[in-house]
């Protein structure tokens, strides 16, 4: 895999999403609240990030708003592990 492949994978990530859940990287999070603020169904994503717990809420739409808006790259989707799913 080359860097362009990696970037493409990132760009198409939101479209390619089918299932999977949002996973936080606590060490990057500063609890600013942008994720929770932008969740269309009011899941407290920030709390998950503080506790280091994936968002396993069955109501999560996996719309990707929180992932895309986080200014610090705290959140990602577990089902698209870039370094294992690419060729």
């Amino acid at each position: 895999m080359n860097i362009r492949g990696l970037f493409r994978a990132e760009q198409t990530r939101r479209k390619a999403l089918v299932q999977g859940y949002v996973v936080p990287d606590t060490s990057r999070c500063v609890q600013c609240g942008i994720c929770s603020y932008n969740c269309p169904i009011n899941i407290d994503v920030r709390r998950h990030a503080w506790l280091g717990e994936p968002v396993r809420d069955s109501h999560c739409l996996t719309c990707g708003e929180c992932v895309a808006r986080c200014p610090r790259g705290v959140l990602r989707f577990e089902s698209t592990n870039l370094f294992q799913t690419q060729n």
Binding site: M1, N2, I3, L6, F7, A9, E10, D25, S27, R28, C29, V30, Q31, C32, G33, I34, S36, Y37, R46, R47, W50, P71, R72, G73, V74, L82, F83, Q84, Q86
Partner: protein, 434 residues
Amino acid sequence: MRRYVIIGSGAAGIAASEAIRNHDASGEILLITDDPHGYYSRPGLAYYLTGEIDERMLFPFSEQDFRRLNLRRITAQVARIHPEAHRIEMHTGAQLPYDRLLIATGAAAVRADVPGSDLAGVVKLDSLEDTRHILNLIRRARSAVVVGGGITALELVEGMRARNLRTHYFLRGDRYWSNVLDAAESKIVEHRLQEEGVQIHYNTELAEILGKNGRVAGVRTKDGRLIECQIVAIAIGVQPRKQLAQTSDLKVDKGILVDQYMRTSHEDIFAAGDVAQVYDPLSGKSVVDSLWGPARDQGSAAGLNMAGITTPYSRLAPFNVTRLAHLTTTIIGTVNKGRDDDLLGIARGDSETWRNLPDAIAAQANFDVNSLRLLLGKQHLLGAVVMGDQTLSRPLTRIVIERVDITPIREQILQPGAPLGDLVADFWSQLHKS
């Protein structure tokens, strides 16, 4: 029953409370803060300023979260510590006893030392109250001057622009954040600010803030220029709030000195977060950070030790992910050296380690707005700066923090024009296959 007193309800104080409660269900925990708004996300203030979140989002804990911790919260200013008597004294003169004390008082913005600094309209971005104040001023203002460096200065610049003020940004030298970023990275940031309509004034120093009826009306620069403005925002660095430790004869240097258990020079008093100066095993020096992540980790470690669970705090290579002119940027490990004339000491979201660069070789690739810089030691990656696309920032953080041996790709990285991104991506994929 043990009585724990925590001074400061920021990331460090909250993390300490959680750690204590996890191991001591019955001890009494007293959380004292002089901030009327209690615990909120300080980095979030920048997004409140731009309007990306509203004020209620700044509070990470619900009342229920606090109840679960079963602690008493007090709003008061602590004036003194009496270590021998195991008591603290409030501003009012009232005293409270403790068995274990944590000082997690954070850091405060350094004031500018120029005439006119007391005028209404001279602001800093430290607390929620500051942010409210700035938002109020913005309603009546047309233009603002921002002075300083690092992340907070930029957040002020972006906040003013987002609120449609004509925004002037003064830099003492010829580029932005010169002791953390390299010249190309500074240029990327400056260029983007200019595209957003920010007027950058290079080699410009503030001589005087001019007032009219007690309010800011403009500034005069050292080279004699006059610029009209209603707000002057200062972000020239922060100072650990270590006075409580100083007046009670605890050992202090730049911050409050602690051992690896976050213990100060007094056995039952601990310190953590922006106010603490901790030993860094990598450099053998004792350093201060102004970073949320380390504040939380140090608070946790302090809390555990206070509860009697002996736990060393091991300082990892510091990193910060932040937005510089709307460009997500990760700074990992050691990336530069020297001093930045726009800052005195340390800035918010800053680590001294980023500037302790020994003789490393830098490899750099710029593609469009994405920029990647790697700092190579003999066998390890000492640091990295990733601007724009963040795909590589996670692997690079791990490679630096875990001190992964990069010998297999070192020579290739050093080839002129090497595809740095590809090399790191491939190296990382290989590592994770094996």
